[in-house]
């Protein structure tokens, strides 16, 4: 047989199937796009799923206002190239409208506030399905989540009451006001993502590759010094770093690295002994169930 059960093509075929299924069964899907590596792969798969037709749904970015400028520039370039419509849901707007209150203190972050902004935007635009780039290998609460994951009309996830998911038959049915979160990359690992980026020749924001940056160290993480960092007495120093994940500047850590190109980055990741979220996300360090708690509320 000329076609094999090779990993990358198997995962790609599965993801394309999932994306098409949602487009066929739901009226108003949206793709959540942060400019991070997983959402870059997700956007590529959506493009493949409908080619030569354009992607039949918009993309949405939940903007904390604390994003890396390199990522914002990249985001705009990406959507312009594909001709998809970009919706920006702003955490600052949610704060101004009194929907959420800004956290204070040295560990203040807008990470958690994103949930309200996201749910408000889903409701305002009437979206009934939201594609996300989450993977099951990222975090143990995510390892338990369905590919098509039901959200009630408060946007909440009930991990103990999930719909059984068999074969590749997805139950996408919902009532008004409810929605589904859809994770076509569920079965991908971090290395699969990088291998795919290399195989497809996908462009990434420059911060994924080694560069000089002014940082300070907190809880063993290297955080960017800047207006949102909440830095107090920690010393600032300049060092070669790259980012392993892309999130809010206030809670995403860099790793020391000299890997300037894709091959070097993949080599480093294949050899690493620490998970990406454990290494670079302050938001997951709050407690053992930090991700589960945020997911229940409606987080990505």
């Amino acid at each position: 047989m000329s076609v094999d059960t090779a990993g990358p093509s198997l995962l790609e075929a599965e993801a394309v199937h999932i994306i098409r299924e949602i487009a066929a069964e739901r009226e108003r899907p949206v793709l959540l796009f942060s400019g991070g590596k997983d959402s870059v792969v997700l956007l590529r798969l959506a493009w493949k799923a409908f080619w030569p037709a354009p992607i039949p749904f918009p993309v949405m970015h939940v903007d904390t206002g604390h994003n890396f400028p390199e990522v914002m520039e990249f985001r705009d370039r990406c959507v312009a190239k594909l001709g998809v419509r970009l919706i920006v849901a702003s955490v600052q707007d949610s704060i101004d409208a009194g929907r959420v209150v800004e956290e204070t203190g040295r560990r203040a972050s807008r990470n958690r506030l994103q949930t309200t902004t996201l749910l408000d935007a889903i409701e305002r635009h009437g979206f009934d399905a939201a594609f996300g780039g989450a993977r099951r290998d990222e975090e143990k609460a995510r390892a338990k989540e369905r590919i098509v994951s039901f959200r009630d009309d408060f946007g909440q996830w009930d991990p103990k009451n999930q719909r059984p998911e068999l074969w590749s038959l997805f139950n996408t049915r919902i009532r008004r006001g409810e929605h589904v979160r859809v994770f076509p990359l569920s079965n991908w690992t971090e290395l699969d993502i990088w291998d795919y980026i290399r195989a497809e020749g996908l462009e990434l924001p420059s911060i994924y590759f080694a560069h000089q940056r002014k940082v300070f160290e907190r809880d063993g993480m290297l955080l960017t010094d800047g207006p949102y960092s909440g830095r107090e007495d920690e010393a600032v120093f300049e060092v070669m770093v790259r980012y392993r994940t892309v999130g809010d500047m206030s809670c995403t850590g860099a790793v020391e690295s000299s890997a300037a190109g894709l091959d070097a980055v993949i080599e480093e990741i294949a050899a690493t002994r620490i998970t990406e979220r454990g290494q670079t996300r302050a938001d997951d360090r709050t407690s053992e169930a930090a991700m589960e708690d945020r997911k229940r509320e409606g987080y990505f």
Binding site: A6, K160, W167, A289
Partner: protein, 420 residues
Amino acid sequence: MDILRLATAGSVDDGKSTLIGRLLYDSKSIFEDQIEAVERTSRDRGEEHTNLALLTDGLRAEREQGITIDVAYRYFATPKRRFIIADTPGHVQYTRNMVTGASTADLAVILIDARKGLLEQSRRHAFLATLLRVPHLVVAVNKMDLVDYDQRVFEEIKAEFTAFAAKLAVTDLTFIPMSALHGDNVVDRSPAMGWFDGPSLLHHLENVHIASDRNLIDARFPVQYVVRPHAATDPGRHDYRGYAGQVAGGVLRSGETVTHLPSGLTTRITRIDTADGPVAEACPPMSVTLLLDGDIDISRGDMICRPHNRPQVTQDIDAMICWMSDDRALTRGGRLLVKHTTRTARAVVEDLHYRLDVTTLHRDEDAARLGLNEIGRVSLRVTQPLFTDDYARNRATGGFILIDEATNATLGAGMIVQAR
């Protein structure tokens, strides 16, 4: 590198978590921060050893109650192959979770405690794995260290299991004596069991042949989505009309004559498109877009097949049903939705022939209902024709799910036994 999907069946007492922990650990798929977190939690709880179950128990309630609630998916790789483990819990909601995990599995590992031998639950696991047509079964006789690595214990369990399996449709059965705790026959062959000349578990997982498990005979292409670019800017695509979907069986070739169902009309595949360019042929599980000759009205839920190899076109479905709902039972006359390939239709339960005791395989023909985690033989009348094959011949065109039309809950799963 290909991917093997496996489901593990067994309870914590059988050493399932230890086995998974060892596979992950020895393949370097557990990261330092994960191990540290598990060690910290184990210490906080005053447990003597590092509790590897904490690696897979991802939910707060699971950690608090020390039980596994839901199927967890785990990923690891060796230089030879990549693996997805569906780790299904042993206690709560057992059938529902195992059926879910087994539905996509290429291989199931059934754990048996060497001291206890073949228990009711081992029979249940074996039955469910074969009901879901998992192509390869491995019986891992664990805790051999606690029976002095005695060959006779292993042989007795093997003989008893083989006798039971004769009643089931087992296609490939492998027995491995092991001690997950000490690592005997998990990754490396055990020096303590020189009498065993089979492979270690990992060696077997790496080498079991799965490419031919797919159905490459019966060409089946459920139409999932119609691609119409409406691109005024590109005249070449102005009339483009492609039928997107995932190949569910057989091999489709460009230039070949095919039949469209339900119309029964014959046409020709003019091209098989992907975003990376056209391909000459497509087989499962490829997601492709077919371009067809002529002007046939084709939409989602239709089926493309070969003129002389068609699925059953039927509104009467006979199936084994696994019921998964606590809120509602399956009863005669009950109405629900069937989702089969890309087609969803209303259906009514015409008959419940029997409820099956999954341990004794006894058929209760007086049963009036199927409750949560119960399995039975059912006849359904569907409002639209479905294009079906026996589940034993093709999982993709023989499996379906049942949905509650009012609550949208997934009520159960069905495996077509024969289309009347």
